[in-house]
């Protein structure tokens, strides 16, 4: 099979998966979902590491390292801030539990 066709296949199937997996998201999760998917595209870090690791000039190396820093901010910060948001959702889901806390 032609290699370009393989890439195209991966792309098209990924589009469908991407649409399908989030199609039933409830409004209250829009913000965490956006933040979480934001963290996922921080995976460009992999690309940044690849180009930096094969840099053949100082200029390219510096640009590559900047890209690594930026991508790492995106990825690490994205996952952590999403977790912080979701942490607030969990743990006190039942009104009873919360009521007890208030009495104390």
């Amino acid at each position: 099979m032609n290699e370009s066709i393989v890439w195209l296949t991966i792309f098209v199937l990924s589009v469908f998966v991407g649409v399908e997996v989030i199609s039933k998201v409830s409004t209250i999760l829009h913000t965490p979902l956006m933040s979480g998917s934001n963290a996922i595209h921080g995976v460009i870090l992999v690309g940044a590491i690849l180009v930096t690791g094969t840099a053949d000039s100082t200029g390219v190396l510096i640009l590559g390292l900047i890209a690594v820093v930026l991508a790492a901010i995106n990825m690490a910060g994205g996952f952590v801030v999403t977790d912080r948001m979701l942490h607030m959702f969990s743990g006190r889901r039942t009104p009873i539990e919360s009521g007890r806390k208030n009495d104390a």
């Binding site: 792309f11 999760l29 998917s37 690594v68 959702f89």
Partner: protein
């Protein structure tokens, strides 16, 4: 790591990302989903660090550590009210990273080799879209942080400038495909940055979240294109996932606000009517003391709270929860009506109230609670404005026209807690403030809320 093994590891990471997105769309599994995504990211980074022939590993590790530290500190330090701008910032740097990667790759592609046209097109695409995402995110950041006006910015000749830059960008991109050079790539990046700024300038403050989501999808697509250039399946899959789900999410968000994406982006260009005003009105309103409002609330059977961004800014949500607890003890039925875009982003208010330990069951979504306003004695609007503004239904030129609203005006009494008569984020006047059934309680939300709480307790 052998090539086959690393391909398998990338596949595992890609599966993690899919499971992560799936998990993130359900309240019960959201947190676990996010952690699975993070695990996928760790697998991916470990795998790439073990790629044979990789140089500068020490420097790369230092760079990762720097970015990691900056990202984590930012994520921990941020106030939940400022979280939308942080997401914008993270998205922007991701786009910038993608553009840089593509720029570097440009220097490595030899156009004389056969079959380089498509990769070069993908490279040019990544540079432009990554730059658009970077610059656009920075402008949204500035708007949300109120470092610049939150109102739509347009100027004479805007459409000409926009189309002009776009045409030049396409022309330069075409040149890059024929004669790849980093210098031309840099020019392309600058054009992309200009496009990004132009894209976001005319967007009004209230619509900015939709744009963050759109730019998020853009970054995803640029990552996917960058992955194609680098022949890395994980980047293609992950980038495309984010691109596709981000586009759908943008549509869902726009629908929740009753807007189309096009009117969000370019609505301001259609004329001055969407610009709104920031003037402080001097029309007479009925205002009351915390004690008066306490009596209203204390002897009501049914109360609905409409919380807005102002509540969170004043950090009054904890006191509000105590007030609701007291009212519940008195036998009043109290719920929170959560407008889809309350706060600065869809779902933002849920995060803010969850932070104040408001029980999940008291948070009612708009469609669920809206019919109940007719049987409601008192609606307490705290730090919200646009989401109860009838102008969304009555004034066709208004910037929020078409946005579904909470019909607080159907209730017997409406109490607005406001700091001043300044209009809301969308910059338009709210007729509801002047209705006979409306009472205003002026003052800082936290302060006033504490007084109100004390007064209700004293009843």
């Amino acid at each position: 790591m052998s090539p086959v093994l690393s391909q398998l590891a990338y596949l595992l990471a890609a599966v993690c990302f899919i499971v992560a997105l799936k998990g993130l769309s359900q309240p019960r599994t959201a947190r676990r989903g996010n952690l699975i995504g993070a695990a996928g990211a760790v697998i991916a980074v470990l795998t790439v660090m073990l790629t044979p022939g990789l140089n500068h590993r020490g420097l790369i590790l230092i760079a990762i550590a720097v970015g990691l530290l900056a990202g984590v500190i930012g994520a921990y330090r941020v106030q939940m009210t400022q979280m939308p701008q942080l997401v914008a910032l993270f998205n922007g740097v991701g786009g910038g990273a993608a553009a840089l990667v593509a720029l570097i790759e440009l220097s490595k592609i030899d156009p004389a080799e056969p079959g380089t046209v498509v990769p070069l097109v993908a490279t040019a695409f990544t540079i432009v879209v990554g730059s658009v995402s970077l610059a656009g995110s920075m402008v949204t950041f500035m708007k949300l942080q109120e470092l610049m006006t939150t109102r739509p910015v347009t100027f004479v000749g805007y459409p000409v400038a926009y189309v002009g830059v776009l045409v030049i960008a396409v022309a330069v991109a075409a040149t890059v495909v024929v004669i790849p050079s980093m210098a031309l790539g840099a020019v392309l990046a600058v054009l992309g940055l200009a496009l990004g700024v132009l894209l976001v300038l005319p967007v009004g403050g209230a619509d900015v979240p939709i744009v963050i989501s759109l730019l998020n999808a853009f970054t995803g697509l640029s990552v996917a294109a960058g992955g194609y250039v680098l022949e890395n399946t994980l980047l293609v899959v992950a980038g495309t996932l984010v691109g596709a789900s981000g586009t759908l999410l943008t549509k869902l968000m726009a629908a929740a606000m009753g807007r189309s994406l096009l009117s969000t982006l370019f609505g301001a260009l259609r004329g001055g009517s969407t610009l709104g005003g920031t003037a402080i009105s001097t029309r007479p309103v009925k205002s009351a003391s915390p004690e008066d409002v306490a009596i209203l609330l204390g002897y009501a059977d049914r109360v609905i709270i409409v919380p807005g961004y102002g509540l969170a800014v004043a950090q009054a949500q904890h006191t509000l929860r105590q007030l609701v607890d007291v009212l519940l003890e008195r036998g009043t039925k109290v719920d929170y009506a959560i407008h889809p875009v309350a706060g600065r982003m869809p779902g933002h208010m849920n995060v803010l109230l969850a932070e104040a330990q408001v029980p999940y069951g008291q948070l009612k979504e708009m469609t669920e609670i809206d019919p109940e306003f007719k049987q409601t004695d008192v609606v307490l609007v705290v730090g919200a404005n646009d989401v109860v503004n009838p102008a969304a239904e009555t004034i066709p030129g208004a910037p929020i026209y078409g946005m579904p609203i909470l019909h607080a005006n159907h209730a017997r009494q409406v109490v607005f807690m406001k700091r001043s008569m300044r209009p809301g984020f969308a910059g338009i006047e709210n007729e509801l403030l002047y209705e006979p059934g409306t009472t205003l309680l002026f003052g800082d939300a936290k302060d006033t809320m504490a007084k109100l709480l004390a007064a209700v307790k004293a009843l």
